[in-house]
Symmetry: C7
Subunit: 97 residues, 7 copies
Amino acid sequence: MNTKFRPLHDRIVVKRLEQDQKSIGGIIIPDTAKEKPIQGEVLAVGKGAINEDGKVRPLEVKAGDRVLFAKYAGTEVKLDGEEFLIMRESDVMGIID
Amino acid sequence: MNTKFRPLHDRIVVKRLEQDQKSIGGIIIPDTAKEKPIQGEVLAVGKGAINEDGKVRPLEVKAGDRVLFAKYAGTEVKLDGEEFLIMRESDVMGIID
Amino acid sequence: MNTKFRPLHDRIVVKRLEQDQKSIGGIIIPDTAKEKPIQGEVLAVGKGAINEDGKVRPLEVKAGDRVLFAKYAGTEVKLDGEEFLIMRESDVMGIID
Amino acid sequence: MNTKFRPLHDRIVVKRLEQDQKSIGGIIIPDTAKEKPIQGEVLAVGKGAINEDGKVRPLEVKAGDRVLFAKYAGTEVKLDGEEFLIMRESDVMGIID
Amino acid sequence: MNTKFRPLHDRIVVKRLEQDQKSIGGIIIPDTAKEKPIQGEVLAVGKGAINEDGKVRPLEVKAGDRVLFAKYAGTEVKLDGEEFLIMRESDVMGIID
Amino acid sequence: MNTKFRPLHDRIVVKRLEQDQKSIGGIIIPDTAKEKPIQGEVLAVGKGAINEDGKVRPLEVKAGDRVLFAKYAGTEVKLDGEEFLIMRESDVMGIID
Amino acid sequence: MNTKFRPLHDRIVVKRLEQDQKSIGGIIIPDTAKEKPIQGEVLAVGKGAINEDGKVRPLEVKAGDRVLFAKYAGTEVKLDGEEFLIMRESDVMGIID
């Protein structure tokens, strides 16, 4: 991603990992699961979520993290010819170390 | 925009960038995406979002920013013959540097 | 408006500006817009919005302001033979200077 | 209203003003308005609205006020042979001086 | 009610007053009203409503009060052969002195 | 219940009292009631409800209490061959002394 | 679970216990129950739930706990060939000691 894109607030940019890459992290998503989780790499994160009192809470997820998220989470955008996902941190189920 | 328009609270005025201008920022929105994001330039921003305790939180987005937002976000208005969008900052997915 | 009317809390009284007056502020609303915004002049405002903790937040809009609002916002009332709109400040998109 | 009735919290008792009395306050409600406002006189008010933190916020409306409210607001009750409305202060659009 | 019953939090126990008893308080409910209010006597009240911060706000209604409430408010239970209503204080419209 | 089960937060474990046991507490539920309340004995309670600020509010209900609750409240589980109900304290209408 | 997976915030990873293992904890779920609870072992937990003010509340459930949860709670994922569930702590009804 050559173009610099700063996600706003609690949004993050994720590069979806392809089918054949699933075996790297060791997670295989069964076809029968209602919500199909998918993994990807976090490329950029917002400054943080806005609490009800207006304060900013930094995100737990950071660029470089490999994350697991629900299949239909986020919005797909094309950036410099590649597809990315913009989602909220709350769509992320966890981090794969 | 010669007419001065001050958006209220967390609203912003955005000049939508045309199809052929999309290549400038490098973002191409696939037709198959459920929510089609679009980019534009921020012309004016409100004083800030009102928190639950009534305090004002200044917006992160400022005039001049190139932003990415969901296609159906905001309300279209014509101002001095040109079309603009009035949306809330929360409709903005991120800033393109 | 000879009759004195004090809107409650975050409500405001607006005198809708007629079609031919639209060119004054320079804003023309396209017929195809989903939510058709309209402009008007604010005649009276309430003491303020009630925050969750019960404190009053004075409104940003004041009597005399020319405002842009969604077409179906508010409730129409007749006062001394003229029609007015009573709406909440949150229905106002911005102020035209 | 000879019977003493104390509305609870943010509720108020209103005596609806009849059609022919509408000209007194100068407000005429057009038949075509979606929400038809009506005016009335406030006879009694509760101690106040309960905020989220449990504190009581005294009402802005007081007994004797002539108020404008939405036509279908509140619940009708008969008291000593006359009909009254019990509504919440938030159903009141404003006070006619 | 010989059996001791302590309503939880903001709940109260009400003994519904019969049709012919309506004339005592002077309130007659018109059949045409959408929500038909009814009156009754409060027999027991909970310790108080729980605020969002977990603090307890004592109820304004107390045992012995004659109250007006919406007809379909609460849950009917039989206690020692008599029917009672268990409702929340927020279902009470006001107190008849 | 020989197996130790600790309900989480504001949940409680209740042993439903059979039809013929209803006369003990003196409460009979009419068949015509919309929401049919039922009574039972509390066997275990959670540490408390979580307030919005994350603090724990201890429950008012405790093990040993005989409680009245709505018929369809909670989830039924079998424990050591007997059926129990797991519900939230907010499903409990009151305590029978 | 050889792959390290850190659930985010209030999420937990649970290894579902098979049908024949149900007798271990002594809990049998009746087929007729509307929401069928199931038990499992907690393998990993997030740092805590985010309160409204943005502070983190550590979870009550910890790795190693045997928990009871609703049958359709969470999302199923395969990790190193085994199936796991990722759910929120609020989906857990209680802990079996």
